[in-house]
Structures are given as structure tokens and as C-alpha cells.
């Protein structure tokens, strides 16, 4: 293998950890947001039931 070929050869870097980190962040943040939506809905529904009973 001559020097030119060695220079031209591209070695793919191992960046799997960063990929996993990226996907991990997306799913963790989305899970937290969905949980927040669920909790807020539940809390408001309960509050509405209480207020309707009082009304």
C-alpha cells in the first residue's frame, strides 16, 4: 500500500456512545414531558370533580 492510499483511507470513528446519548436524551425528556401531561390531566380532572361536587 503506498502512502497516498494510506492518506486517502478513511477510518470510521467509533462514536456509538454519542449516538446512544443522543437517543437516550430524546426518550428521557419525552418520557418526562408525557408524565407531566398525564399528571396535570389527572390533577385537573380531580379538581374539576371536587369543584362540581361543591357547586
Amino acid at each position: 500500500m503506498n502512502y497516498l492510499q494510506i492518506l486517502q483511507e478513511t477510518v470510521t470513528p467509533d462514536t456509538t456512545d454519542f449516538m446512544l446519548l443522543g437517543y437516550g436524551v430524546i426518550f428521557v425528556v419525552m418520557a418526562i414531558y408525557m408524565l407531566s401531561l398525564f399528571n396535570r390531566t389527572k390533577k385537573l380532572e380531580q379538581e374539576l370533580v371536587n369543584l362540581e361536587e361543591m357547586d
Partner: protein, 232 residues
Amino acid sequence: MKSQPTFLKILNTLSVLMVLTAIYLAVFWAPTEVTMGDVQRVFYFHVSVGWVAAIGFLLAVIAGIAYLSKGNSKWDIIGVAGVEVGLVFAFLNIVTGSIWARPVWNTWWTWDPRLITATISELIYIAYMMLRQGIDDPDRRARFGAIYAILGFVSVPLSFFSIRIWRTIHPVVVASGDAAAKGTFNMSPDMKLAFFFSLATFTVVGATLLWHRIRIGNLSQKVEQLKMKMYE
């Protein structure tokens, strides 16, 4: 919990199925990019979440204009839902961009036009949520929200076009970019499939979350109205 509309239930299921398929396409189907390695696969979701954020902010503009012309509070509920969902996805866009940048640019953050404008946009909408909470009168709050959402949207196209206007390190993958950009690559047909499927997936996920957020807005309005009625 009250029963959800049938179409929302369908959207919930469709979102899960599409996300699973999108992961398969992005991680296993699309080929590994030679110069960046696996981290390039973040691109499929990075762009898609940015797209959903822009749609959310655009929806807030449309709702803002509708509220100012019609005065119906349902538009305020839609507007705030658009901003909230947009904020979550814009945050993900910035964070995943930073993670992608670390091995490619050798830094988590750089003062690049795209990164700056995207962060300014995020901060503008965080301020929107904070300022809204400081206004008690629902009509004033809705009017303020509508005007702010319309004016604040200027930051969104500015962020989108920043990599096309100014010299930047950020790659422009979908169109030709700056020669100084680092991380540019040509999409193969398999990469294009993964990319466009991710875009469709996150559009469906965004619409689903938006619907859930609008339901919260409606519930909150009912609670607020009942409380006011009881105090009178």
C-alpha cells in the same frame, strides 16, 4: 382519567408504532456514515424534533392571529399548547445538536449563528411561558400571549436561515451549504428513507402531544371558570 376520543387513542398507538419503526430505520436500516460514524444517526431525530418545534411555534402564531381577530379563548389554549410542545422539542433539538457536535466539531458548544439563534429562540419562548404566568386576567393574558407569539416567531425563520445567510460551521444537509461547515454528508436513498420517516413520525408524535396539551388547557379553563363562579 376521562376516556380519550377514539382518534386520539389511534394517534397514541400510531405514535408508538412509528417511533419504534423510526428507531429501526435510523439505527439499523440506514448505513453508517463513513467520516462521523454512528453519531450521524442522531441527525434523523435532531432535524425532526427541530421541525416539530417550528410547527408548534407557527401554530402559536396562527392561533394568536385567530384570537386577536375572533377573541375566542380556545385559540389561546391552542397557542399556549403550541408554544409548550415547541419548547420541549426545541430543547431536544439544541441538546442533540450539542451531542452530535462533540465528536464532529470537537466541542459541545461554539458561538455559531445557528446555535446562537436557536438558543435565543428557546429563551424567547421560555420568557413567554414565564410572563404569561404573571398575568391573572385571562383576557389580558390571552391578548399578551397572542401578540408575543406573533412577534417571537421572528426568531424561528431567523434560526432556520442563519446557516444559509451567514458563514457557519453548522452543516446544511438538505440543501448545499457553506464550504467551511463540518459534518456535511450526502444522503444515500436508505438515509433519505430513515430521514423522511423520522420527520413523519415526529409530526405525528407532535400532533398527539399537542392534542393532549390542548385537553389540559380546556380542563384548566373549566376549573378556572368554576372557581370564578363560586367566588361570585
